[in-house]
């Protein structure tokens, strides 16, 4: 190693300092929001003059917030299921398939990842306007699937590429039909990739705001959209509470994923 941490001497402390600074920069806004959600000030004063659970009570008491919460959850779950299923089939084609244009197809499936989201949003909005999908649950799910698909294809493809096809062949020669072999042997063998795909696709839909703003109607709003529109009307600490809940679910999912990965190793 050219840069050996143990031999850096005084430079070690510089490195530690920079690391702490960057970490703080990343974490502080989250800490700030969570602190404000428990703060007693109406005007989001920091540091909070006192502590209260009032904003959470207001959040759970407000049917509009609860509707947004359940809409978000429903869309995210549907996106998770359909994206993972579609990504699984796609990965089989991209990893196992031998056809012309396979690499081009792979690149095409990954473009939503690098395309500016607002471009995807405008394109989908224009298209959905024609076929009447804007403001519908189906529209939301399909639009989020476009964004989530690359993030589901990458872990599943990686897991499938790392799985030796001889193992599937072994199951077939043992008497399992090809479908049975895939279901009983291949799928459990790539389950970590599948799980990662599920977590990613859920989270992408869960905290997506740009496409959601285009898709939303007054009666169908996701949490991030509701946060966004409330912010523009008034600066209530309920927004901080809603944001904190959003972050909490994300954190729980990430921890769960990390735990399962640790167990797998």
């Amino acid at each position: 190693m050219l840069l050996n941490y143990d031999r850096m001497g005084g430079l070690q402390w510089v490195l530690v300092f920079i690391t702490v600074l960057v970490s703080l920069f990343l974490i502080l806004p989250v800490v700030f929001i969570i602190a404000l959600s428990f703060g007693s000030s109406q005007w989001l004063v920091f540091p909070p003059p006192g502590w209260t659970l009032r904003w959470y009570q207001e959040f759970f008491a407000d049917p509009r917030w609860m509707a947004a919460f359940w809409t978000s959850a429903k869309i995210a779950v549907l996106v998770m299921i359909f994206t993972t299923a579609l990504a699984l089939i796609t990965s089989f084609a991209l990893v196992r398939g031998r056809f012309r244009g396979r690499e081009i197809l792979r690149a095409a499936f990954l473009t939503p990842m690098i395309l500016p989201v607002v471009v995807v949003a405008v394109a989908l909005y224009a298209f959905f306007l024609k076929i009447g999908l804007n403001g519908t649950m189906t529209g939301f799910v399909v639009a989020h699937m476009v964004l989530a698909l690359p993030f589901a294809i990458i872990p599943i493809s990686a897991a499938l590429a790392g799985f030796d096809k001889s193992t599937e062949d072994a199951a077939i020669v043992c008497g399992a039909s090809p479908w049975e072999a895939r279901l009983r042997i291949t799928l459990p063998s790539i389950r970590h990739g599948l799980f990662a795909a599920m977590v990613f696709s859920f989270l992408i839909s869960w905290d997506e705001v740009i496409i959601a703003i285009f898709m939303a109607s007054p009666s169908l709003q996701t949490m991030p959209v509701r946060i966004w529109s409330s912010l523009r009307q008034d600066l209530s600490p309920v927004i901080a509470a809603a944001s904190s809940l959003l972050i909490l679910l994300t954190l729980v999912l990430m921890l769960l994923a990390a735990l399962l990965r640790k167990k797998a190793n």
């Binding site: 030796d164 001889s166 193992t167 062949d169 072994a170 199951a171 077939i172 020669v173 043992c174 008497g175 399992a176 039909s177 090809p178 049975e180 072999a181 009983r184 042997i185 459990p188 063998s189 389950r191």
Partner: protein, 358 residues
């Protein structure tokens, strides 16, 4: 004559314009351990995969018990297979791995449990049923794979270089296990390897593959002592091929005249030796005797290199026309060597141990 148990007839397979195997014909009686031996790319694995059903041959047929199996998909052929790489199902325990073929056959649970125990005992892994494959060594994994492949009493067992991923010591140990399992179960085995020692040790017969064809089929002794082709002679053990002229041919015997004028009479002749433009005399290094008295019969040569190897001495002798001949000279107890570098010697060998390839 009754039908042989397994019959491979004129099997051929092309990938595009590349012929992987061509005209492979072979008959295997029930219970035989037959090895496909050959260099990599010689078609031995392709033949095995065609029998397993992982690829469909372009020509020919494969019969088991008088019926063609080519119309059957892989999973209905009732064939057992052990692969080169580890193919245990990593998310299932050792016991569940062995039970898998029985579960997909919807056998009753009681029968499955009994069979799993029987198979674990067969590969001497009693008590390992609850372990996960990741906790086993490579050798143990291949033994479980063997148990899984035999759990459903397959008609034949295919083994595709099952030991190539293991180190030498483990290989010897598992070779012994495989041999024992074969004797204990009497299953017909087709075994692929590129290691001739492994082939010799395990098999009843060996089919020697070269360039997609079977070069020669026979016991290890037959292949080693009576090679029919140059390739057989070169692949099985080490051989010297000495440039020679054939004269005074009588039936299956002829006299050989070397470039320096030395004549050896009564050498067995192989005509369909395949390849090579000129005639050669083949003789194994261990069949040559070194005669240090520089008179009498034998081929004159000069020792250019002599290496002491403990039980024998490896000698390179150069003929007067510049061809190097390898001699493996077994030493008597305490003997240091039979020849020294630079010494003029004569090389003598019995006719029975040599062949003329035309």
């Amino acid at each position: 004559m009754s039908d042989p148990f397994l019959s491979i007839r004129n099997l051929g397979k092309s990938f595009g314009s590349v012929r992987a195997i061509e005209d492979v014909t072979l008959e295997v009686p029930r219970g035989e351990f037959l090895t496909f031996l050959g260099p990599s790319g010689s078609g031995k694995s392709t033949t095995l995969y065609a029998i397993a059903g992982f690829l469909s041959p372009s020509q020919g047929d494969v019969h088991i018990d008088g019926r063609s199996i080519l119309d059957l998909p892989s999973h209905k052929r009732n064939i057992g297979m052990v692969f080169q790489r580890y193919t245990l199902f990593m998310h299932l325990s050792v016991g569940e791995n062995i039970a898998f073929p029985l579960r997909v056959r919807r056998r009753p649970a009681k029968e499955i449990d009994a069979k799993v125990d029987e198979m674990l005992a067969l590969v001497r892994l009693e008590g390992y049923g609850d372990r996960m494959p990741a906790a086993l060594s490579g050798g143990q994994q291949q033994r479980v794979a063997l148990a899984r492949a035999l759990a459903y009493d397959p008609q034949i067992l295919l083994m595709d270089e099952p030991l190539s991923a293991l180190d030498k010591k483990l290989r010897d140990e598992i070779q012994f296990e495989i041999k024992r399992v074969h004797e204990q179960t009497g299953v017909t085995i087709l075994y692929v390897t590129h290691d001739q020692e492994e082939a010799m040790r395990l098999s009843d017969r060996i089919a020697l593959f070269n360039n997609g064809r079977i070069e020669q089929v026979g016991t290890g002794q037959q292949l080693y002592n009576e090679p029919l082709t140059r390739f057989s002679a070169a692949f099985m053990g080490n051989s010297n091929f000495i440039k020679t002229e054939v004269m005074a041919r009588q039936g299956n015997f002829a006299a050989a005249r070397f470039p320096d004028g030395t004549v050896v009479k009564g050498v067995p002749v192989h005509e369909q030796a395949g390849g090579g433009a000129e005639s050669v005399l083949m003789v194994r290094p261990e069949n040559i005797l070194i005669e240090t008295r520089n008179e009498g019969s034998g081929l004159p040569a000069t020792v250019t290199n002599a290496t002491f190897l403990g039980d024998c001495q490896l000698i390179t002798a150069r003929t007067s026309w510049g061809e190097d001949i390898t001699v493996r000279s077994v030493l008597a107890p305490g003997e240091m060597g039979t020849a020294a570098r630079g010494e003029a010697v004569r090389l003598i060998w019995p006719n029975a141990g040599s062949y003329l390839f035309l």
